[in-house]
């Protein structure tokens, strides 16, 4: 389904002219001009920290511009808050979820706009409307489930359902597809195209240039807070987009695949997590990059967390010949195994603390005996900032104010600080720009080169195929099969992930 690239010539519904925005003394956006038209799908792209989220928040009424103006339907507006924007039909879905974790899905969807019957809340109507919306999104979450019990991609679907439940004129989505699998992305795109047909203006950002090329009408590139390019998607190639974002040409995205050594470092035997994983076996060699593929909900994260001691489990995990006790993270870390969570905000970083505190948190005992050695911490942060190219406008800022991609880089730095022998990385490049992706891929290859072993869990097919020399695919809590060398290809992975078991024999044979 190629995008209908007829540039809509109608008047912009929402526009920025000469907008700047500063946080404290630092100017993040420098005079941005931008226009969004009804019936167009507009992509905003740029590196991590370029100012995409900031631009979107200004459009969505969450932030005020420092100077410049926002116009809606040709009228200069100043939204008092996001509700004022929503009254005009402008709805924004944030990069980080905005859900009340302790409330049920339907309560979240109608939060602040509860349906009433007389003076009482109409629970039944809200529940059934939510169920309808979720069905439309082919999301199988129970509307009565608490949000803190559902998976990360399901949360994204709930956010989308929440947006769809309103009268929309403008839908702004900040990296909605970062946490979705390809199948879920397709569902989202269908909905987006339906909205476009209804004349809704859609602005969205993504680091997946392929999907932008496919579904968007227009793309605008932001670099370091300045608009550097805006063109119909038909007139620009993915390479040109990447080059405009990064300001240089990008050569090969994936490094050469490392060759695994002969000795085994990690052995997982008959591992089960009640209800989510059953009878998983896994072997990891020194210097190997092993991929774990599968649909969301297949039990990949649960398997990884069980190995890392973050979940109760049955079965054995042997690291470098020693059995790791179940449910004890400290023991796993001590033994040289580190796990990078997919839930950056909920389990990865302390958003209201600084970079330094976050970086050294798992390894404080290595920084000074009784008193923490601040100098050593600062030095470690210096190194992390340069090794991982973390872009923080201010060193002392809250981690929550870092751009999403830079948070991910900090999380990587934090996980690798203990210099682990085995690293399990759950979604390594979620929300990371293409230039940095290349750096992270190189880093993973580097780790393997140095004799460490890496397990990469990814929902991005190209990433699995590009990085891993061996891929294990999970389906329904079980390991559905294993692919090696030339077998590692999209078709084979998808078949296994869908549970088409006959390919297991084929793969093993």
């Amino acid at each position: 389904m190629s995008a209908v690239n007829t540039a809509p010539s109608s008047a912009p519904i929402l526009a920025l002219s000469g907008v700047t925005r500063s946080f404290g003394p630092i100017e993040i956006l420098h005079g941005v001009d931008f226009a969004l038209r009804p019936g167009e799908i507009h992509a905003l792209i740029g590196e991590n920290g370029a100012g995409k989220s900031t631009t979107m928040k200004i459009l969505g009424g969450y932030l005020d511009p420092t100077t410049g103006e926002v116009t809606c339907d040709g009228q200069s507006v100043r939204f008092v808050n996001s509700d004022a924007a929503e009254d005009k039909g402008i709805v924004m879905i944030h990069q980080e979820f905005n859900l009340a974790e302790d409330l049920a899905v339907d309560q979240n969807v109608f939060l602040g706009r509860e349906l009433r019957r007389g003076w009482r809340l109409d629970h039944k109507a809200m529940r059934s409307r939510t169920a309808d919306l979720l069905t439309r999104l082919q999301c199988r979450v129970d509307p009565a489930a608490k949000v803190n019990r559902i998976s990360v991609p399901d949360k994204q679907m709930v956010e989308i359902a929440k947006a769809l439940s309103r009268d929309l004129r403008v839908l702004i989505m900040d990296e909605p597809t970062a946490v979705l699998t390809e199948r879920e992305c397709e569902i989202l795109f269908t909905q987006i195209e339906r909205l476009r047909a209804e004349g809704v203006a859609i602005l969205y950002t993504s680091h997946k240039l392929g999907e932008i090329k496919r579904i968007c009408d227009r793309v605008t590139v932001l670099r370091d807070g300045t608009m550097v390019k805006s063109a119909p998607v038909a007139d620009i190639t993915e390479e040109q987009m990447a080059a405009a974002m990064v300001g240089r040409d990008l050569s090969d995205l994936y490094p050469a695949k490392p060759v695994a050594g002969p000795d085994t470092v990690l052995e997982v035997e008959n591992l089960s997590v009640p209800g989510v994983v059953s009878g998983a076996n896994l072997v990891l060699k020194r210097g190997e990059v092993l991929g774990i593929g599968g649909l969301i909900g297949a039990g990949r994260t649960e398997l990884a967390e069980a190995i890392a001691g973050l979940r109760p489990r049955h079965g054995t995990v042997r690291l470098l010949g020693h059995d790791l006790p179940a449910g004890l993270v400290q023991a796993a870390v001590e033994a040289g195994l580190a796990y990078l969570t997919e839930d950056r905000k909920g389990a990865g970083l302390l958003l209201d603390k600084g970079l330094r505190e976050n970086l050294t948190l798992p390894l404080l005992h290595k920084f000074g005996k009784i008193m923490i050695d601040r100098k050593a911490e600062e030095a470690a942060l210096d190194k992390a900032i340069s090794d991982f190219a973390i872009r923080a406008p201010q060193r002392s800022m809250r981690v929550g104010d870092l751009s999403g991609g830079n948070q991910q880089k900090l999380l990587l730095a934090k996980t690798l600080l203990s210099d682990p022998q085995v690293v399990i990385i759950d979604e390594p490049t979620r929300g990371i720009d293409i230039g940095t992706k290349q750096q992270i891929y190189a880093l993973i290859a580097d780790l393997a080169e140095q004799g460490r072993s890496v397990i990469v869990i990814s929902s991005e097919m190209p990433e699995l195929i590009g990085l891993a020399s061996r891929v294990v695919v999970m389906h329904g809590g079980k390991i559905a099969g294993e692919l090696e060398g030339d077998q590692v290809a999209e078709g084979a992975i998808v078949r296994l992930a869908m549970g088409l078991g006959e390919h297991q024999e084929e793969a093993v044979a």
């Binding site: 404290g24 410049g68 200069s76 958003l351 948190l361 008193m371 923490i372």
Partner: protein, 333 residues
């Protein structure tokens, strides 16, 4: 296109500063008011009196800061103090019968108070971490239990140390070096140690991490339950220590000993800028909070301007104001 609306957002830095120095400004203001209202305010006797009396709450509040920073709460400290004091007095009286009025009796009494405090903290902590009951519920329960136990021990009346024993133990509260009494010295030392532990050790950092986001802490391989438990045990130990300083003051304990101490300690912690929901704590702030609360009482006592009966009302206003100040910066757009 009408006029462009230029909005100047205030720099965050200045607001943060206000949060930091807010409690100090309030303390200075109180001191100035006190000086203006009563010339005796700054006298050696008055200052010593205020500081020595605030030492008990202060020592407990230091421990409370750790508990709250790690996202917990302890409502039982007041009754715990009363119970430990009663126990200490009973045992010391019994020991005096066999060992006479001697120093070892005092030392045993002190050891008992500290151990009893640790055990009480351990009970709270284990119920909260191992059994997994909410801190509020657990400590509400133990608060009732200890209060009832001291009432029962004292048979509804007062437990008193023997007269001679009291004379021997007295200097621990009334004595001192270079004109500074022991409770003040103890408070200062514990506050400094607390500040160092909170700011410069892994334990303090871990408390803040747990209070800020327990899941992140767990994923960062912090032994969350152990650290939590440790905060309650530390608080129990400090309650025991406060009792060691308190008993020589009156030499007795009754059902009304330590009444509302828990609320004063929690209030001091919050006034000092520690977040009630956890994640950030500062000991020096707590010290300032304790001083603010006791100065309010002292000033009201020294002047007949406002009735001392309004002490609670004024303290209440200060607590609410402190929290409002903390909130301000959250509304940044």
């Amino acid at each position: 296109m009408t006029m462009a609306t230029a909005v100047k957002t205030q720099s965050q830095g200045r607001r943060l500063d206000l949060q930091v120095i807010g409690p100090i400004i309030a303390l200075i203001a109180l001191i100035l008011i006190g000086m203006a209202l009563n010339s005796n305010f700054l006298s050696y006797a008055n200052i010593t009196n205020v500081l020595a009396r605030s030492a008990f709450i202060g020592i407990i509040a230091v421990g409370m800061t750790f508990v709250i920073t790690a996202g917990g709460l302890d409502l039982s400290v007041g009754s715990m103090a009363a119970f430990v004091a009663g126990l200490m007095i009973l045992v010391m009286n019994v020991l005096t019968d066999t060992m006479g009025v001697t120093l070892p009796v005092i030392l045993l009494g002190i050891a008992l108070a500290l151990i009893a405090g640790v055990i009480a903290g351990l009970i709270n902590g284990l119920l909260i971490t191992k059994v997994g009951i909410e801190a509020f519920i657990v400590t509400l329960g133990t608060m009732g239990i200890y209060r009832s136990l001291i009432t029962w021990l004292a048979d509804g009346g007062t437990l008193s140390l023997g007269f001679e024993m009291r004379e021997l133990y007295r200097p621990v509260y009334y004595g001192g070096i270079m004109g500074i009494s022991w409770p003040i010295i103890a408070f200062v030392v514990i506050a400094i140690l607390g500040e160092v532990v909170m700011r410069h050790t892994a334990f303090g950092r871990h408390c803040a991490a747990i209070g800020s986001n327990e899941r992140v802490a767990r994923y960062s391989s912090i032994a969350v339950l152990k650290v939590r438990l440790a905060t309650y045990v530390l608080l129990g130990l400090l309650v025991g220590f406060a009792v060691v300083m308190y008993v020589p003051r009156l030499g007795s304990a009754s059902a009304s000993t330590g009444l509302l101490w828990e609320l004063e300690a929690i209030a001091a912690v919050i006034i000092g800028g520690t977040l009630l929901k956890g994640g950030f704590g500062r000991i020096w702030g707590t010290v300032v909070g304790v001083l603010i609360l006791s100065l309010i009482g002292n000033i009201l006592n020294l002047t007949d301007f406002v009735s001392p009966y309004l002490n609670g009302a004024i303290q209440g206003v200060v607590i609410v104001l402190a929290v409002v100040l903390q909130r301000k910066s959250a509304a940044d757009r």
